[in-house]
Symmetry: C2
Subunit: 562 residues, 2 copies
Amino acid sequence: MARIIALLQADPTVGDLEANATLIATLGDAAATKGANLAVSTELVVSGYPPRDLLLQSEFIDACVKAAENITCSIPLLIGTPLPAKGRNLPGNGVLSNNGEVREVVRKQLLPTYDVFDEARYFAADARPGIARTFGGLNLGVTVCEDAWQHAGHTPIDYDADPIEQIAEWVRQGVELDATVNLSASPFHVEKLSTRVEVARCAAKTLQHPFLLANQVGANDDLLFDGRSLAAWPDGRIVMAPAWQEGALLIDIDDYSRAQWLGKGEISHISPGDDPISADDDLLQAVVSGLSGYCAKAGLKKIVLGLSGGIDSAVAACVASAAVGPENVTGIAMPSKHSSDHSLADAQATAAALGIEFLTISIEDLHENATTLLADLLASGDKVAGENIQARLRGLIVMAHANANHAMAIATGNKSELAQGYCTLYGDMAGGYAPLGDLYKMEVYDLAKQFNQRMNPPPINHSTMTKPPSAELAPDQRDDDKLPPYPILDEILRLHIEYRLEASEIVAKGFDANVVADVLVRLAQNEHKRWQMPPAPRVSRRAFGQGWRQPLAAKHAWRRSI
Amino acid sequence: MARIIALLQADPTVGDLEANATLIATLGDAAATKGANLAVSTELVVSGYPPRDLLLQSEFIDACVKAAENITCSIPLLIGTPLPAKGRNLPGNGVLSNNGEVREVVRKQLLPTYDVFDEARYFAADARPGIARTFGGLNLGVTVCEDAWQHAGHTPIDYDADPIEQIAEWVRQGVELDATVNLSASPFHVEKLSTRVEVARCAAKTLQHPFLLANQVGANDDLLFDGRSLAAWPDGRIVMAPAWQEGALLIDIDDYSRAQWLGKGEISHISPGDDPISADDDLLQAVVSGLSGYCAKAGLKKIVLGLSGGIDSAVAACVASAAVGPENVTGIAMPSKHSSDHSLADAQATAAALGIEFLTISIEDLHENATTLLADLLASGDKVAGENIQARLRGLIVMAHANANHAMAIATGNKSELAQGYCTLYGDMAGGYAPLGDLYKMEVYDLAKQFNQRMNPPPINHSTMTKPPSAELAPDQRDDDKLPPYPILDEILRLHIEYRLEASEIVAKGFDANVVADVLVRLAQNEHKRWQMPPAPRVSRRAFGQGWRQPLAAKHAWRRSI
């Protein structure tokens, strides 16, 4: 008889326990009809990942367990769920087996508490891995996400335990296992795929049996999950589910060529020694998934944004259009006296190509009215005050449209300008979500090229692609009046933020010391803005927000000396 | 010879290593002139607490150690500082002894990772307490903050280790210690003082020698530290430094009556069995310290706020005035057609009594201009859009003033309305800091009464104190049109947020089930606003921000079923 394990690549909604339970049952039943012996869900699928401070409510944890227990499915399930605290300890991040009878199988041992992860805040670490015996006719080692990562050395620090090695030792002692499974909520970032594949290969090689990883897909809050559930064999072969799609991956552990995918997209087969290759449009899909997921889960159908004719808002409009459909997107051009002639035409061209609603609301009168009203105040003070008024009037108009129509405004800023504070709080930073907030400026250009290649007509015209970036808040203003050219700025930021290089190390790579110092000082001084930025889908190794929180009080202190 | 230990109650600035080092040397030298044998600093005093993600930079940690090593003082010092990682581990939260020669004494064992604390994210836990031998002629047990709390049972979960018990066991084995010291950065909240005193008494009793705790004072970011460094003797006597003041507390461990305080304010002596009593104005001092500390440390001299004539903005003006001086505060009244007659007069009365600059800028024309411009949009949509325009125009004006004058705008909202989303993003929520953001509405009234009692003339007039709260964004609007009366709302929120009571438990206390459900649903649905709120000084057991982060994607899911 074939030994077939289904990996349920689910897109749960954080907090929607009933819907998540139904989703698992539905995917499991579909897998059953294709011959699966049993099905494995993703980590914390009942609560959705990340449940954040909902985990502090025991009422919530009890409701998760009850929802997991109430799932009925035609094949046995391994279900990821929060589990109640033992005594005066924290709850567990665990797995229940449900084949009519419900049993606790394992609690996660390794609790990531770095970057976007805060698991030591919510969970107690357990001391041993789990086994599901004669479960759907199979014996399985059972691990949860990070539990498999220590073994491959892919954690920022060493944990004391290595659950993969523990299971391998049991196997050496004679415990018979058909496979080891891993319930994951392994967030996406642009360089993560090959690491995750290496983790799986490393586990399978040590265990000397197949290692199967079911990964969450979709977005919850600022976290993205690419799916790509996979199976690895000891010889290094990999079978991988498609990214950004919900579905079930059926793995015949005896024959990797017989894998099936129930859902959109296609299975990848990766030969031993080969690296997995991300799709060209992975970043584009990630950003679109982030926005569409957030809207769907927060009950938002419509999006509105300011369309300036610049590259950021044009790309944001493309993302919005792909996320919720062009019929649900409104772009508003809000020219002022400082807007260039081409701005309106460029904005209109993008809106027309996408087929989104396009409104033009000139802020010229309102701006004049406001500057007259505030003439005394503006005459003597910093001229940035006057520039910001324009950005904030635009924010006000976009928000009025959003509030009137129950739409969500999106902020169009990118990571490079957010890093430097080159943006206006309550102006262009206004919105419920910042789809490009974790993309460096040059990545925004890359996305623009991709949208233009993939869409007909191309939504972003030549003028928008090629004109020098400008906030257009003052005559002849250009971003590079104040900032280094973006290719340089992006690289300095990337080296410091993603790879944690210090100033001296960045300079050693050939960057001008004064430029590096200016960039890092501005980065430190503008943390107060980032504390108030809307959530942005995390696509880089290290995003602002959960994974980057500098002290505010240090804004003029640390970095002063560089 | 007297055995005198100085506790240096310092107010460090996060990231300002050089200034923090100088501060310790200055306080230590002052203590030396009064006969102290040695001085004990607060936890992480070199970096300031909380250093947050600066701790991820090894360059920063190395600079802290160097700054600690470079301190020269006329008496031996125990200095709290981050310490470099050992191998592939995280850094330590530790203590260096510096008496010319520098040695590592201890690394913190118990790393709080709950509420406002995230120490497991930054530090590796060590396995044993430290001893400083023949240091300034004394032998001392040395612990860091949380290390002392497990022993008294005052941690939310149990740690495996109990450092106080470990030291006590050493004493029982014959190790001779004169006292045990604790370097703390123990944040303020309204009910914490008696707990901290109990922790100290419990440690002294077990150790059978004096237990001395040096606590940070002042604000860094959203955390407040009340100081109140203290010494406890085995019989329960307590000597305590004043709150909210920098200084040095000199403890003669052989004679509690000979304690000296170098600084403003006075020492408290608390008899065995007596509870410490907070000053009446503790909450007022806390909120003022938060704002003044933030301004001082972020290099901000001036504050601007909207003055509506309502209670929140009146109290915020009092806080601002106390924090940076009335000469540095500007209040702007921005009446619209919906403003009541008394609003302007009430606002002016508060400004005049405080002696702050007062501007009146009517938004009536601008509002009319905006509503005309957006007439189509506003005619058909949700009427809240029109109401928000007024709030956002006010936000724009306050921000223009702030930007022009390099002042900081403050948001005037309170915790009750932030909890319910009864506030406007980019409108009244605009600002760099929300001084009342962790105060329930009824606490804002309490503060108003206190300011009126303490100041002459009383700054908040009868009309402001007694009129029904209203956002004045629509004709005859009142907060209680949409919200329960504040005494009820506050209590439901407090029970749920501070004490983690679930809906059913709150109802069991006599609250209406529908009211409770409405309040908790609004709380869940408005998390997206709180993700973008300015930092607020944490005065309650549980504040929004670091200690309260609900998932956004759950806004319509969990709680729907209540």
